[in-house]
Amino acid sequence: MNAHELVLEPGRSEKNYWRDLWRYRELFQVLARRDVSVRYKQTVIGVAWAVIRPFLTMLVFTVVFGKVAKLPSEGAAPYALMVFAGMLPWTFFSTALSDASNSLVANANLISKVYFPRLIVPTATVVVALVDFLISFAILVLMMAWYRFAPDWKIVFLPLLVLLAFLASLGPSLWITALNVKYRDFRYVIPFIVQLGLYVSPVGFSSSVIPPQWRLLYSLNPVVGVIDGFRWCILGESAMYWPGFAASLSVTAFFLWFGIRQFRKMERSFADLI
């Protein structure tokens, strides 16, 4: 009978937290499925929203950066294709960040009435953003067919890069989510970060337009590594800037560690604060 012995004490970080997380994996699935199936209920065009939003932004960016500002594309790749290859991970990142930051507050009734590892809620939201990402990926495939653009062997790295995009989104999302429970100011900060990030990250242009001496510093933005990686693997034209990619990777790893740590630290008081 003592197999289940559990001690609750102030400040005690639970030893079996990760085991609990595994035990509640079904809840994780259920929550993610709930969010996916609720997301486009009572909309007319439904899931097409996941496609239209990045597509329209891509059009605008192609016109503004490609035609008006006449920035160079990467190699022979059409400008629109290059923008869309960057737009996909960016849309994923920004959707994940803004949805996750509200996820705990939106599920306040759950938090204050039932126990489960709280990490599940924001992570499930990031998974939902991933579903949107996969849907809009179909558009990229169609566009590549339209431009008769065939990817080369590097495309095999795509699953790894999707995983990287997932981790790069998860870390900051967890941190912001936890902060948002305590200080609701972040609800107003997030849309601003997302808007600014769209222009700071190399979405509408290639990161090769950044002057070489600034390139490493520029790569400290974790999204830069993800977008560069996507373009490298899908377009296969440009040479990868490896020091920058390594910098992005380490920043991503740091944020993941920091996000989980901060989340775990604040998690215990969520029910009291929400």
Binding site: M1, N2, H4, E5, L6, V7, L8, E9, P10, G11, Y24, E26, L27, Q29, V30, L31, R34, S37, V38, K41, Q42, N107, N109, L110, I111, S112, K113, V114, Y115, F116, K182, Y183, R268, S269, A271, D272, L273
Partner: protein
């Protein structure tokens, strides 16, 4: 003898609460308001810098919702937890179900805990009944296999077979609650923690819920049960804990515990109500005591269908000579409002002195036996409906214990839900059939 399934030692939980001092000042000057806002901003910014929580209000005070609580529960026991609103019952349950962390002390749980603090937690209005069963089940800690196995039973209990594929936002509120309780009722943990969930649904369904709770209790599972419904506690529980202002006052057999709880309510009534911490309003008019007297002068207990006298002592600090509008709202043990006494209907209470006593007499109290509580409201410069200022509001300001009488004998718990709350004067005769035809 095995070790207790739950042991709690020296448990405490404190919260920081903020107070607004602003409304206590009679005059507000712009300078004060600006000063207060600047101070507030400074404090919040500093708190955020140190990673502390933000508290609204001018003064911050530590409030112990639970203090130094120790007890043990053995396997298979059904323990009731009783106490007034704000006594710490829900906080205790929240700690035991791991929703919040204790500030001091420790709890050792030797079994899987499932908690039911609210019916229908996590129900999503857009999803169908079927989807919500799986969602809610997963939230309460059931596995998919477990839910599948019990699916038919749950649906049968909730009586919603025909609407399984309808989004629950189209459900009637009765159906919604039935479905929610049905899922929860089929939990099978080793320790079940239940908060006031019987107060839902129609009478028919409440009866069914009580029956289900009784099955659970007799099935050898350990249950902690919070309720304001003393009848339910005394039927279901073998032992009860009495919480008073966050402290464990008593832990003994149910009937002794209930008696001591009622005694403590009576003692509370001796205290000045104005000293209670949960008062809302400007407090320009304060109630000191509210007592319920029977015809022969006994305090707190009145027989059903007999005369009842509610005596209210008050003091007022305002300078206005307008009448005060006093409302006493009576609620039954399920928290449902059953009746209200309102001075709006009288013109006898104008020009009240600074201090005094008001009485309200009901020649025959038409309530069935049970426990009722009174919420008090005082409005100045107008009535509640004409938008007067709320001067004083206190929930659970007094209790009425309505005893069974010759006119209305007590009903068994199982029938209580069907008996309603009204004790009607009733005269039964056999009418002449011929007389009806005319």
């Amino acid at each position: 003898m095995s070790r207790p399934i739950i042991s709690v030692e020296g448990l405490g939980k404190s919260y920081l609460v903020g107070h607004e001092t602003a409304h206590r000042e009679r005059y507000t000057a712009l300078r004060d308001v600006v000063g207060r806002h600047v101070r507030n901003f400074g404090r919040k910014a500093l708190d955020m810098m140190r990673g502390r929580q933000i508290i609204q209000g001018d003064d911050v005070e530590e409030f112990w919702a639970l203090r130094d609580v120790s007890f043990e529960v053995n396997e298979g026991e059904v323990v009731g937890i009783i106490g007034r609103n704000g006594a710490g019952k829900s906080t205790l349950l929240k700690i035991l179900s791991r929703i919040t962390e204790p500030t001091t002390g420790r709890v050792t749980l030797r079994g899987r805990v499932a908690s039911l603090l609210e019916v229908g937690t996590g129900f999503h209005p857009e999803l169908t009944g079927r989807e919500n069963i799986f969602l809610n089940g997963a939230i309460l800690g059931m596995t998919r296999g477990e839910i599948k196995r019990k699916f038919d039973e749950i649906v049968g209990f909730a009586e919603v077979e025909r609407f399984l594929d309808t989004p629950v936002k189209r459900y009637s509120s009765g159906m919604y609650v039935r479905l929610a309780f049905a899922v929860a009722a089929h939990l099978e943990p080793e320790i079940l923690v239940v908060d006031e969930v019987l107060a839902v649904g129609d009478a028919q369904f409440q009866k069914k819920c009580l029956g289900k709770m009784q099955d659970v209790a007799q099935g050898g599972r350990t249950v902690l049960f919070v309720s304001h419904n003393m009848a339910a506690v005394s039927t279901l529980c073998s032992r009860a804990l009495v919480l008073v202002r966050g402290r464990l006052e008593q832990s003994c057999d149910t009937s002794t515990a209930i008696a001591s709880f009622l005694e403590s309510l009576k003692q509370d009534a001796q205290n000045d109500l104005a000293s209670r911490s949960d008062i809302k309003g400007t407090r320009a008019f304060e109630l000191e005591r509210i007592v319920c007297l029977s015809a022969d002068g006994a305090e707190g207990a009145v027989a059903s269908g007999e005369e009842a006298r509610i005596r209210i002592s008050y003091r007022r600090s305002d300078h206005f000579d307008s009448a005060a509008n006093l409302i006493l709202a009576i609620r039954d043990s399920f928290g449902r409002p059953v009746a209200a006494m309102n001075t709006r209907f009288t013109s006898a209470l104008v020009d009240l002195p600074r201090e005094g006593v008001i009485e309200c007499v009901t020649p025959s109290l038409p309530l069935v036996a049970g426990f009722y509580s009174i919420d008090a409201y005082v409005y100045l410069k107008g009535t509640h409906s004409s938008g007067g200022d709320l001067a004083f509001h206190l929930a659970d300001a007094a209790q009425i214990h309505v005893l069974p009488s010759d006119k209305v004998p007590a009903s068994r718990l199982q029938d209580a839900a069907n008996a309603g709350v009204m004790a009607l004067d009733q005269i039964w005769t056999q009418a002449d059939k011929a007389a009806c035809v005319s």
